[in-house]
């Protein structure tokens, strides 16, 4: 179990995790979640991240997405060390490089589907007309053009998650991070989401890291790694 670099030889990887530790300080005790962890995710990979509940999957994903910082070690994305960026630079960095897809979709209930998808574009320098064009493209890619003016509560779970994915890809981010994107959906709706993610990866070359509990979902990924007791492995632990 050396480094988890399955990329081409010499490839620095789009994402590099080196010696990352993460400890949460809770009340009196320290919770050691990640222990000296290494991981390389090459450009264009669709990586599934599995492991028991509480093993630190979300924690690792948050470190890669710049939502949190490691206690030890470095996180490098597209050649840039992000663990040392200030909060403000990190927010800008996320806007430019990361698309997030959440288990519970996290759409704004007071906004229509297209306004939800537009949100990340408000952080770019695009004008209104251009934003509208990008929104239309993203909604078309997830097959929801006809639902553009609908509010989240009028959409099914699967549709809401497709809006979430459209929001995640509308800025054409370097990396799409999905935390249990099918965790709240039934099999059929989940399959549609997985089809979509797979297509984004295969046809559009999106690099995707997806946390999941579901072997059915991880089967769609190009590679699966397992997190257990703070460590990563290529094999599930029995």
């Amino acid at each position: 179990m050396s480094t988890m670099n399955d990329g081409k030889p010499g490839d620095a990887g789009l994402v590099r995790i080196d010696g990352v530790e993460k400890t949460f300080r809770r009340a009196s005790e320290d919770v050691h979640v990640l222990a000296r962890l290494d991981l390389v995710v090459p450009q264009g990979e669709f990586l599934a991240l599995m492991g028991p509940s509480g093993s630190g999957k979300s924690t690792l994903l948050n470190l890669i997405g710049g939502l949190d910082r490691p206690t030890q070690g470095t996180v490098t994305v597209a050649g840039e060390r992000i663990d040392t960026l200030s909060d403000r630079r990190l927010a800008d960095w996320r806007a430019r490089h990361i698309g997030f897809v959440f288990q519970l979709y996290n759409l704004m209930p007071v906004l229509t589907a297209e306004r939800n998808v537009e949100l990340p574009l408000l952080l770019t320098h695009l004008g209104k007309a251009e934003r509208q064009k990008h929104v239309a493209t993203a909604l078309a890619m997830v097959g929801l053009s006809h639902r553009a003016k609908h509010y989240p509560r009028t959409l099914s779970g699967g549709e809401q998650q497709r809006v979430g994915i459209a929001r995640g890809i509308v800025t054409d981010p370097t990396l799409l991070l999905c935390d249990e994107p099918t965790g709240d959906l039934d099999r059929k709706a989940g399959d549609e989401i997985l089809n979509l993610l797979q297509a984004l990866n295969r046809e559009h070359g999106k690099t995707i890291i997806m946390v999941t509990h579901d072997p059915h979902a991880s089967a769609r990924a190009s590679r699966t790694v397992y997190l257990n007791k703070g460590r990563l492995s290529n094999e599930p632990v029995s």
Binding site: D68, W93, N106, M108, P109, L122, L123, G127
Partner: protein, 399 residues
């Protein structure tokens, strides 16, 4: 350039979420709006008393009119002149000339007792003796009922405020003056000014009735212009035959109203400040719950890259919007409830009643809105900072 525009649209969209989500927490928002409205009603309401009193005291004081008192006298009550001095004052430079001579009215007044309509108890009312120029040395005097009293006869006209506040002052009724009864022959208005609280008669008649001989207490003059005041004053104060004090009427009344208006203002500001502290906690609570119910939404926006500065400003704006709504409501209620509310109070400088109307003026409404805004901003800052400082990763986990 575009980044700035986008920064505004970031703020705008967060504000929009906040305002659109108000229906979901309408209870706490309504409580805050009403709380802030209450503070503003009290502030504006109390200050409208002071503003109304000040307005009444200065309503008929024209800038080109003056009042002359004996030197050292703070009010007409303690002032006094004889006929020769009055003549010197009327002949001073700067006094405007009418068809019948200088526009100068030497006056005196006595205090009579009349029952208040509201309580039936006696209160002090000034009975003022005036000279023919009295109606032109003041602004905005109009007879609204009956006629002017005849010079040399035992007749009175009554200010509209006094007629409203006290019993037995209708046209046709008899006013008890000493042992005699004088008919009320007319009612006049003075643009809500202090003269409306008085009863007027001929100065010479009053002097006779009260054994005042040829003595007066004050001289009211109309000057040729506002600029004529200084030379007029200089001429009188340097005249060795006179020992007088010369004031613009507006300054005199402003001074007369100062004690009471300051007292009321202090009281109003004090009460409103105490209430404002309570309202701040209300706003604080509302915004904390606004932030709490939107923890995940705000964390999501920040995950997408929205800046914490934009979050803070947006939440402050939301709090401000709620507060201004409360302020506007309070201002409207104060206006509806207090503007033109008729009242009478003791004017301590003349020991007599002044009738006046509460005045909810535009500056007061602005003060009310400003106070509401301050409450909103203070109440919003801590919740906004909390929302912006919350670690995104853990906030995202909240449902």
């Amino acid at each position: 350039m575009n980044t700035l525009v986008n920064w505004f649209s970031q703020i705008g969209s967060i504000v929009k979420f906040g305002l659109l989500s108000i229906p979901q927490r309408r209870g706490s928002v309504a409580a805050t709006v009403i709380g802030i409205a209450g503070v503003v009603v009290v502030l504006v309401g109390v200050l409208s008393i002071a503003a109304g009193f000040r307005r009444a005291m200065t309503a008929s004081a024209a800038p080109d009119s003056a009042i002359v008192l004996r030197s050292g006298a703070d009010s007409e009550m303690v002032s006094g002149f004889g006929r020769p001095q009055v003549r010197l004052i009327a002949d001073a430079p700067g006094v405007a000339q009418g068809p019948k001579g200088p526009l100068s009215s030497a006056e005196l007044f006595v205090i009579i007792n009349l029952p208040k309509r509201s309580t039936g108890t006696d209160a002090n009312v000034p009975l003022r003796g005036v000279e023919p120029a009295a109606t032109v040395v003041r602004d905005n005097l109009h007879l609204v009922a009956g006629r002017m009293f005849e010079w040399g006869r035992n007749e009175v006209i009554v200010g509209a405020g006094a007629a409203r506040e006290f019993a037995g002052l209708e046209v046709g009724s008899q006013l008890k003056v000493g042992r005699a009864s004088w008919p009320v022959v007319g009612i006049f208005t003075a643009n809500g000014g202090v003269a409306e609280s008085e009863v007027w008669t001929d100065a010479a008649v009053l002097q006779g009735a009260y054994n005042r001989g040829e003595s007066f207490q004050s001289v009211y003059t109309r000057l040729t212009s506002a600029d004529a005041f200084q030379p007029f004053k200089d001429a009188l104060t340097t005249n060795p035959q006179l020992n007088v004090k010369v004031l613009r009427q507006s300054d005199y009344y402003a001074e007369q109203s100062e004690t009471l208006t300051r007292l009321i203002t202090t009281l109003g500001v004090l009460i409103a400040s105490l209430m404002a502290v309570g309202a701040i906690f209300g706003a604080l609570n509302t915004m904390y719950s606004a932030v709490a119910t939107r923890t995940r939404e705000i964390a999501t926006l920040r995950a997408l890259g929205f800046g914490s500065g934009a979050v803070v400003i947006a939440l402050m704006l939301e709090s401000l919007a709620i507060a201004i709504l409360g302020g506007a409501l309070g201002g409207a209620l104060a206006y509806a409830g207090f503007n033109n509310f008729q009242a009478a109070t003791m004017n301590w400088q003349s020991f007599s009643q002044v009738t006046f109307a509460f005045a909810v003026t535009p500056p007061l409404l602005i003060q009310g809105i400003v106070l509401a805004s301050v409450i909103g901003l203070i109440g919003g800052i801590l919740p906004a900072l909390r929302a912006a400082r919350q670690p995104i990763a853990s906030a995202l986990r909240e449902l």
